[in-house]
């Protein structure tokens, strides 16, 4: 097995600041990139040629298009072209009330929808100045960590398949589906739950949830350990990932990169530990870091983060308090169904919430959580009405995509696939 040397760069963020032809980013416009296919280039010549990869390519995780400047098998410069899934969700968010907004944002990062709902709800709650009951906080914490497991299992499935470990598609997705089964039991839906809402969560945990979740964790741990045998120690798998797509801490910080990519390059920064929200300050878990910032480190960080999430969920089961699962403020959360029949006020509140929504005081706020992909933020401006005046989601994948050209410089086409996979972008969130 090859022993990797520490990348020789301490202050080497310089390459991400380059503007000219020596930059790893191929800064040609979308239109020019389309034109190159009509250019009269002799494919047998030694000239660098421009290849459009995607947007419909099985390894691009959706509709990512890469414009690659190639010399033979080697990538010289590249540029991710995005927007194929852009549906104007930030604009839509301005049309929807705060209660409806959750259904909108949950469709952004469809591999970890609960985080989108969480950050949206937290921003709304800050503007409203309300505190969520402790049980709701613990439910949110537990659900998010379950969602993190399912998201990282999806990564294991796609990453394995992209580098040729095709059986991972089944192994990873099996664990993801088992996790989604629990999420479905609790929220009613496999994905796009709209479960975390301003003021708490939509419904309380169902009967028997402790057994279900504990059973899931007991099943997950040995199966995740199987991955170590299937992948971690496998020479072929390691050869595909080790030393490929390395990026250092300075470059990550200059590019605004967060999440497993930043931690993979050896920098311990995790909002759950460093700027705690929900109940993370009371929980015991480790922040996983890599060393070299290559594809293998990013794989290992995600694998071990799933293990840490299992630890967190276990603690959530133990610590789950009794109490309300949502705020009993009838201006914000709808009254219980049973109350509507015998209380006029309850009927009015219910009607008001679902027709015009609740009004949120004027102000602007930025809230961030640690999603499986990095810092997921929500910048929300209210003008005092029932709809956000401006709702911007800081999508981690959108920012993390910018690392691709730098990781890909001088890599081979086969490495390009491994690098896309190791960035783990969700195009729904990139394009919004």
């Amino acid at each position: 097995m090859t022993i990797l040397e520490q990348p020789v760069s301490t202050d080497a963020a310089e390459r991400v600041f380059r503007r000219g032809d020596d930059s790893a980013v191929l800064r040609i416009s979308e239109a020019d990139a389309e034109m190159v296919e009509t250019l009269d280039i002799d494919p047998m010549s030694d000239e660098p040629m421009i290849v459009n990869m995607g947007p419909v390519h099985p390894s691009t995780h959706g509709v990512l298009r890469l414009v690659l400047e190639m010399k033979g098998e080697q990538v010289l410069r590249s540029k991710p072209v995005i927007g194929y899934l852009h549906t104007g969700m930030e604009k839509t968010g301005e049309q929807l009330s705060y209660l409806q907004g959750g259904t909108n944002v949950t469709r952004m990062d469809y591999a970890s929808p609960l985080f989108n709902e969480l950050v949206f709800s937290m921003a709304t709650e800050q503007l409203l100045g309300i505190d969520v009951p402790p049980r709701a906080q613990w439910i949110r914490t537990m659900m998010c960590e379950l969602n993190r497991i399912s998201s990282h299992m999806l990564f294991q499935a796609t990453n394995g398949m992209d580098v040729g470990a095709v059986s991972m598609m089944l192994y990873g997705n099996r664990l993801r589906e088992e996790t989604l089964r629990i999420l479905e039991k609790i929220t009613g839906l496999r994905m796009n739950h709209n479960y975390i809402r301003p003021g708490g969560v939509a419904v309380d945990l169902p009967d028997g949830w402790r057994e279900d979740v504990s059973g899931l964790l007991d099943m997950l741990l040995p199966l995740i350990d199987e991955f170590d045998e299937l992948l971690t120690g496998q020479p072929i798998f390691r050869e595909r990932l080790q030393g490929v797509g390395a990026i250092n801490v300075d470059e990550c910080l200059a590019l605004g990169v967060t999440g497993p990519i930043l931690r993979g390059s050896g920098y311990a920064w995790d909002l759950r530990r460093d700027m705690p929200y929900l109940n993370y300050a009371e929980l015991d878990f480790d922040v996983i870091v890599g060393t070299y910032g290559d594809c293998f480190d990013r794989y290992a960080v995600r694998l071990n983060e799933a293990r840490e999430s299992i630890k967190i969920v276990q603690q959530c089961i133990e610590k789950m308090p009794a109490g309300d699962y949502r705020l009993q403020d009838k201006k914000v959360t709808p009254p219980p169904r049973a109350r509507i029949d015998d209380s006029m006020e309850a009927l009015i509140h219910h009607f008001k919430i679902f027709t015009e929504g609740f009004k949120v005081p004027e102000g602007e706020v930025y809230v961030a959580v640690e999603s499986p992909r990095g810092e997921l933020g929500c910048y929300m401006v209210s003008d005092g009405g029932a709809h956000p005046y401006r709702m911007h989601i800081r999508a981690p994948s959108f920012v993390n995509l910018q690392t691709m050209p730098h990781m890909m410089q001088d890599a081979l086409v086969a490495d390009v696939v491994a690098i896309i996979s190791s960035v783990d972008p969700v195009l729904g969130e990139v394009d919004r």
Binding site: K91, D274, H392
Partner: protein, 177 residues
């Protein structure tokens, strides 16, 4: 820019300032416990550079906002609200803290300098802000649209860009009938 007037960057404005608090010669306010700076377009790049020198390691987020239909939003007394705002969120890791920079950008001249040379990660975010609001980032290395098609007309997140006003047609599809 005057460095070192208030070296503690984590300082926040007092709750009811008799005299407005300043940091780097820029007005400071507080919103829900978060520090907000209000530089002018001219002070913008110096402010961000000073923040970078003060340990703010990353621009986490940069986005635009259009206040066409909300011109009377609450702002510090000395700040005249313009139609557009560029909102920059920065983060420092030791100790962990955040700061937000809100720049007023007039509709008559929607131009601000790019932050690319300070934080190269703003490249995509500034392209998005240009795409969505039409704010031009001077000296940006790749001043193109990012989410909308390159031949798109208008800037969709502007408040005068109506929802559903433009019939969407897939590129290359035959015209209806």
């Amino acid at each position: 820019m005057s460095d070192g007037e208030e070296p503690e960057a984590g300082d926040t404005a007092p709750a009811a300032p008799a005299e407005p608090a300043r940091m780097y010669d820029v007005l400071v306010t507080e919103a829900f416990g978060q520090t907000v700076l209000h530089p002018s377009v001219d002070q913008y790049i110096d402010t961000i550079a000073a923040l970078k020198a003060d340990g703010y390691v990353s621009v986490i987020d940069l986005c635009g906002a259009d206040y066409l239909t909300n011109p009377n939003r609450p702002l510090p007394a000395d700040i005249a609200g313009e139609r557009f705002e560029i909102v920059v969120n920065l983060i420092a890791h030791t100790p962990p803290r955040r700061i937000r920079v809100r720049v007023q950008v007039p509709a008559s001249e929607p131009t601000v300098p790019t932050l690319f040379d300070l934080f190269s990660g703003v490249e995509a975010m500034e392209r998005e802000a240009y795409d969505m609001f039409g704010v031009v980032f001077e000296n940006h290395p790749d001043p193109t649209r990012i989410l909308m098609p390159h031949d798109w007309d208008g800037h969709p997140l502007r408040k005068d860009f109506g929802v559903g006003a433009v019939p969407v047609q897939f590129k290359g599809a035959a015209a209806p009938r």
